[in-house]
Amino acid sequence: MKKSLLALLTLLAAVFTVSTAFRPAEGGYQVGDKVADFKLRNVDGKLVSLAGNAAAKGYIVVFTCNTCPYAKAYEDRIMALHQKFAAQGYPVVAINPNDPQVAPGDSYADMQKRAKEKKYAFPYLLDETQDVARAYGATRTPHVYLLQRSGSDFKVAYIGAIDNNTEDAKAATQHYVEDAVAQLQAGKPVQTSSTKAIGCTIKWKKKA
């Protein structure tokens, strides 16, 4: 009896493992999840990882790109976030997840050009395999993940939009990322920990 119960449990465990293994890649990180570190190439040629900046209390990770009009609409606001929060321990890390085969204009060379023209003070990384975007569950540009340090790890504190008015920054009445960083700095929980926004779909590689 005991043996058959054990066999049944083993079988159930196997079935469970198989069914979760074949779960589609959608979903990604939720608020509170610990993130895996990455190593992505910056526009200056160097590899950047979260662990590389020991002084960071967190990161404002932004999936963005050169070509999406909505990402462009937020470009100056992304630069302003870095300007304001890098010194407070929350620098911006911009990641371009787009496949340049699908989105010409989002190539590494184009990223370098854009970063130079606009004098980005933060890393602008190429997610060539798109593994990082997939792990995070990013779906669009721009798409923000605010990370908070927890020992040597980083946990997701906020997912979503930068503010609530794409067209006119001055008309925005909610500044989600700024408020979230301020709340983390004050040792408080993030009140609005996830929001949605219109954006361009990430240009995933076409299946061979």
């Binding site: 909505y70 779906t139 939009a161 067209e167 008309a171 909610q174 949605k196 926004a197 779909t201």
Partner: protein, 168 residues
């Protein structure tokens, strides 16, 4: 006015009229607020609705628009309604959206959702939508079937979705 000038002005008007002709057949853009859109999404009739969310700035959206036009033409005799909901800013209605709709000669219904607060309306449209464009809902509320696609669709995929939600 000389005869030659008269001829020229008549000719000019004729050319203008010819140019305007295909444009006149295109759809007018209806500007709506969220409640009107929600009403469309909840309409209880035995009609299959194909509601596509797009924008003139969204390249994959523009590339798939002809599939919705083809679907509309092929299903014209059936209870199938195609509505193309532009998420362009309302301020771009006259400079971008209307000229685009005219130029393409779109025959499907075109709406423009005039709501600035995306975080408020995305969940109201569909809680499973992340906000990425293009996004398409295919539904038949009488039959209680609904499919959602956060990706561009081919005509074949659209027709398969229409068949699926029309199933009893």
């Amino acid at each position: 006015m000389s005869l030659a000038k008269k001829y020229l002005s008549v000719l000019g008007l004729t050319v203008l009229a010819l140019l305007a002709a295909p444009a006149a057949r295109a759809q007018q853009v209806r500007v709506v607020k969220l409640p009107a859109l929600q009403q469309l999404l909840q309409r209880p009739s035995d009609t299959t609705y194909v509601v596509n969310f797009w924008a003139t700035w969204c390249k994959p959206c523009i590339e798939e628009l002809p599939h919705f036009e083809q679907l509309r033409a092929r299903q014209a005799a059936k209870p199938v309604q195609v509505v193309l909901v532009s998420l362009d800013f309302a301020s771009k209605l006259d400079t971008k959206v209307r000229p685009f709709v005219q130029k393409q000669g779109l025959k499907s219904k075109v709406w423009l959702l005039s709501e600035p607060d995306q975080n408020a309306y995305i969940d109201a449209i569909d809680p499973k939508w992340s906000g990425a464009l293009p996004f398409t809902l295919v539904y038949n509320n009488r039959r209680q079937h609904r499919q959602r696609f956060e990706q561009p669709l081919t005509l074949a995929e659209l027709e398969a979705a229409v068949r699926a939600v029309q199933a009893p």
